[in-house]
Symmetry: C2
Subunit: 363 residues, 2 copies
């Protein structure tokens, strides 16, 4: 069993912010909270998915809301553990292990934070292999685990337990609560046993975040091209194919916090060799990139916008006019491209008219 | 102990619709459901508040939402019991008795309906002695009982358990859920022991509804003036003072379903002796009546609009142009006029600038 200590945290958060494809929350505050929790309580045991006992009780944790709000409305220290404790109390049993429901800057930290605070193990896995804006957009739902019962907690210590028969309706009703909790709530969800987790979760996401973050950091330190190094590294993972889609300057951002999400689009004008403009729309996460109307990358494949100099991933709420950016596309792992998966978080899951076309097949 | 059988139901619903002051839900569907439940399962025991055992577990039940929606979106048969069962399951204990949280056409029926279906006793009491639009506007909250934990249920069998430290915030967050449940949910709330119920509840509301309903019915059957008879009857209760405020014709209704409430105002033009116009604003229930700008009645005193011919109370969602109406004002019981009570459901509780003036002191 591995341990997560202070040494790994920054790299994990950096890699998770890349996989967050613009969402999953800015890592700054969550990273500070997690560092302090690990300083106080010690390193957190990280279990490989295969190591989880079949009868272990597993929760998927993280925050739900609009990332635009999250950078201003800081989590209360007891808020993320409160969601876990409320769900444990409802089920009458302590969770044996926690995992992230998504990879994202803030949400990669939450299981580690809660694990450190409450003394729970953390599983090296998640339900998205990236970040998505809606609760039901997880391999857990796709492959038959139920999101309910799940718990939400706000900064006042209020908790809500939801038991909803359909995970998409759970997102809708849960989002209504999150909005009234100030567009920011802690969540503990998808209670499942270890045997189920092994069947429905994406293995190795925390380790992969760590590798991606370390790769980016080492490129910066070594003066290498971070984009080329990352593409080479990802070729050896289940993500496989990655490429630079576009390089340019942000010339317009339209963004609003509405319905509990950060919604909008960013417009990038080519610098150097890239022609025309690239438009990337987002709902918390980047959904689709079009160059002068031509499809370049679409969910569930990953669209990642990084600043061109330091290769720092930029979350949707941090986009602003004038940024020099490099837009990367990464192919989603096969488990996320099955017909069942595409029905939930492919283009149709977001009401997009585009069919899903793998990034490998798009020029 | 008294029993509620089919014989009493219509009168209770009629009297509760009067006390509902325009809200509390149209009694038609809830009345049919309750009749059928009593036909199937037999009469429901009605306990006087004083008869409740000190250690009994008591819930306050009813529906939460916009009455405009309620007349179109019919409750599922299992929905009201589902809220009670969810709260029982959360607390790990069966409720010994149920009471209404408010007097209102539909909400007076709910404890009887659930009581018949689940075999629970019902208490002859409520938390408003009338209807109010918001959860915290109950004597339970005013005198120190907590609304949490409470349960909401929708027509799909989904349930939500809320544990919220402040009853006004519970209304806000709960209303957010109700909106996403289609502006209509069943609720079981204010779990308390019998000793507390005796301290914080308004005794005798169900019996009073029955007396009011019987009085109206008998006046109609006997060809007497129903308004005069009702005023005489109320003089002998803790409501004390009642009077006719205005008689006229509805000349305008503005009403919208927004934020999970029915919001609006009705404008009535005098017929016969009454001058000018009476404007009555409402949020589910009637809040304030002004004749040409002059205050005639304000919450928590009751404003009841009845059709002038049959003395049938008209709920806010049933108001329409051309109705000939008689507007009555009724003084709220002393327990609802204390400074603590007025702070919660007096004019200030609704953001009104008017001070509370008892109807007895208004010309």
């Amino acid at each position: 069993m591995k341990q997560i200590s202070l040494a790994e945290l920054d790299d994990i958060a950096l890699g998770a912010t890349f996989l967050g494809t613009g969402g999953g929350g800015d890592p700054y505050i969550a990273g500070l909270m997690t560092k302090r929790a690990i300083e106080t309580h010690g390193p957190v045991p990280l279990l490989a998915l295969a190591e989880v006992a079949d009868d272990a009780l597993v929760f998927a944790c993280g925050n739900m809301g609009a990332p635009t709000v999250a950078i201003e409305k800081i989590m209360a220290e007891e808020q993320p553990p409160a969601a876990v404790l409320a769900l444990e109390s409802h089920l009458g049993r302590k969770a044996d292990a926690l995992m992230a429901f998504e990879a994202g800057g803030s949400n990669s930290m939450m299981p580690l934070y809660i694990g450190a605070k409450l003394g729970r193990q953390v599983i090296d896995a998640d339900g998205m292999g990236r970040a998505f804006p809606e609760m039901q957009m997880v391999t857990f739902s796709v492959y038959g685990a139920s999101g309910s019962p799940f718990a939400l907690a706000n900064e006042h210590g209020d908790t809500v337990i939801l038991d909803i028969d359909d995970d998409k309706r759970a997102e809708f009703i849960g989002r209504g609560i999150v909005i009234r909790m100030g567009a920011r709530a802690a969540k503990a969800s998808y209670p499942m046993d270890g045997a189920t987790a092994k069947r429905v979760a994406i293995p190795g996401t925390t380790s992969l975040c760590h590798r991606i973050g370390a790769n980016l950091r080492q490129s910066r330190e070594g003066g290498r091209d971070p984009f080329a190094a990352l593409i080479e590294m990802l070729a050896g993972t289940h993500y496989g194919h990655a490429k630079v889609l576009y390089r340019g300057k942000v010339i317009d951002v339209s963004r609003e916090t509405r319905q509990g999400y950060a919604l909008g689009r960013v417009l990038i004008e080519g610098l150097g060799g890239d022609r025309g403009r690239l438009e990337v729309t987002f709902q918390n996460e980047f959904l689709v990139a079009r160059q002068d109307g031509r499809l370049r990358c679409v969910v569930p494949d990953l669209i990642c916008i990084l600043d061109s100099e330091m290769a720092q991933p930029i979350t949707t709420e941090r986009l602003r006019y004038g940024q020099r950016v490099t837009v990367m596309g990464v192919s989603a792992p096969p488990i996320m491209r099955s017909p069942e998966a595409l029905a939930v978080f492919g283009p149709v899951g977001f009401g997009l008219d585009d069919p899903f076309v793998p990034i490998e097949d798009l020029a």
